[in-house]
């Protein structure tokens, strides 16, 4: 079995471009995730149609689009979360992470999810202490040395801009934290196993503006070390935090390109109509 953790830690080489993709100006970026000709179905219900895009490394890529357009499904394909849904499957195409087909039979899905962390819409800390929330993933990964775990807990909490707020109460229950703190704890938990990619599925939708601003600031800081893909319904948030944006509609990727371009002068009328609120 191939372990994704054993893959070379250097960033993947730039992939050749294809001519049949939606507008994309990520030409010069190093590509971390390569989604190619992807079809996906829940049973007989096809929800992604021929999606191709390159997600650049060490940048933030936002997926926007109306409910049911397939953006969350695509996000969940990237760390194979959809494997947990009966009847859900990729019917065509492939996703490569650093050049490796993530759906190849020899790929260890636990390793994949360690390399591709995920943060959900609703924060979901374990009903355990703050410390244990972070250390859990490390122990699963076979790290048991206390000093190494302590170090990783602090590094992760600092990385998630939470350390100063919780350093004196690491043994307290995580469920006692505020909603925003819980979400940052979940981000810290994802960072603890040192992933390459962090997927975020509407991470701020349940948060107040202050907590949202802290998460957005965090995303901004994390982009230098991680590849981040975020699904958001908040167009202003996509504009603020992302470097690249993909607009999905009815399971198709309509347009993909630099966020500035998408939000000032999109090439597709459907993108323009959606982001300006002229849809329907």
């Amino acid at each position: 079995m191939v372990s994704l953790l054993e893959m070379p830690q250097t960033l993947p080489q730039q992939l050749p471009r294809q001519n049949d993709r939606p507008v994309d100006e990520t030409e010069s970026a190093t590509i971390m995730i390569d989604v190619r000709d992807l079809d996906f179905a829940y049973g007989g219900n096809k929800v992604l149609h021929d999606v191709s895009l390159d997600i650049p490394a060490q940048a933030v890529t936002a997926f926007i689009g109306p409910s049911g357009c397939g953006k969350t499904t695509l996000l969940r394909c990237i760390n194979r979360m959809n494997d947990l849904i009966e009847g859900a499957r990729i019917t065509r195409g492939a996703i490569h992470l650093g050049g490796v087909d993530i759906n190849a039979p020899e790929v260890d899905v636990v390793d994949l999810r360690r390399r591709v962390g995920m943060v959900f819409q609703k924060s979901n800390p374990f009903p355990k202490s703050i410390y244990e929330n972070i250390s859990y993933g490390l122990r699963i990964a076979g790290i048991n040395k206390r000093s190494r775990i302590d170090e990783a807990v602090e590094k992760s909490l600092r990385g998630a801009a939470l350390w100063d707020e919780v350093k004196d109460r690491l043994d307290e229950g995580a469920l006692g934290l505020s909603g925003g703190q819980q979400q940052r704890l979940c981000i810290a938990r994802a960072l603890a196993v040192e992933p390459d990619v962090v997927l975020m599925d509407e991470p701020c939708s349940a948060l107040d503006p202050i907590a949202t601003a802290k998460i957005e600031e965090l995303i901004h800081d994390l982009r230098t070390q991680y590849t981040i893909a975020i699904v958001t319904h908040n167009m202003q948030q996509a504009g603020r935090v992302s470097d690249h944006t993909g607009f999905f509609y009815l399971g198709k990727l309509i347009e993909f390109g630099p966020t500035t371009k998408i939000f000032t002068n999109p090439s597709e009328k459907r993108t323009e109509d959606y982001i300006t609120g002229r849809f329907g």
């Binding site: 939000f263 000032t264 002068n265 323009e272 982001i275 300006t276 329907g280």
Partner: protein
């Protein structure tokens, strides 16, 4: 081109109100400029006085457009073509206001000239005024119709106006040497010509912003050859 309606009707109303105020302001500035130059050519002080008085209303509209633009940005956070329209409207209004200021300056000079016997050289102003006014009208049309091609064409016409102003200055300076008694009058005509040349500069700015609004292209600070 009329875009499809927003889901949010109040957004359409706010954008429409902003646009209408810009067009109204442009209409008033055009009338003021026309009155100022007619006041000069027809030696009519009352037209000059009216032109000067009109400036107040235009100043107020500039403030209103700024306020409405900020309000739209704050309330609706427009993006894409909507954002470009709002930004363009807010950038247009100071240029229109400056055109009205040039009209006021012309009207003031005209009243001074009208106190003295007519100068035959006043005819120099006619083609310069026609060219500047046409540039101004077309720049506003380019914004109103979101016509990027017309906007680019207006920008290219500015060099002709500059040349006309230069030729007028040369001739008026020659006349000063030949007829020093009319020195003050010729100076006033040079000033009027300069004001009209500035109208062309503001029309160019408006046309550039119209191109940005229509086509998301920033054509400022290019050579004329590159812009056409």
């Amino acid at each position: 081109m009329t875009p499809a309606k927003h889901i949010l009707g109040t957004f359409d109303e706010a954008l429409s109100s902003l646009r209408n105020n810009v067009l109204m302001m442009a209409g008033l500035a055009e009338r003021t400029l026309d009155r100022a130059v007619k006041g000069l050519l027809q030696r009519d002080d009352s037209l000059c006085t009216t032109a000067i008085a009109d400036d107040e209303e235009i100043d107020q509209l500039e403030k209103q457009i700024d306020k409405d633009g900020v309000d739209v940005l704050l309330r609706f956070q427009p993006v894409a073509s909507d954002m470009r329209r709002v930004v363009a409207a807010m950038k247009l209004s100071p240029n229109i206001e400056r055109i009205a200021d040039q009209a006021t300056n012309i009207a003031r000079r005209a009243r001074k000239l009208n106190r003295h016997p007519p100068l035959p050289e006043i005819e120099i102003i006619v083609p310069i005024q026609a060219h500047a006014m046409a540039m101004f009208k077309d720049s506003i049309d380019a914004f109103a119709r979101e016509d990027a091609d017309l906007g680019r064409a207006v920008v290219a016409r500015d060099k002709d106006l500059d040349y006309m102003n230069k030729m007028a200055n040369r001739r008026l300076i020659e006349r000063m040497a030949q007829d020093p008694k009319q020195l003050r009058g010729y100076l006033n005509l040079i000033f009027v010509s300069r004001c009209l040349e500035r109208v062309g500069d503001h029309a160019t700015n408006i046309a550039e912003d119209a191109v940005y609004a229509a086509a998301a292209e920033d054509i400022r600070h290019q050579t004329v050859a590159a812009a056409t």
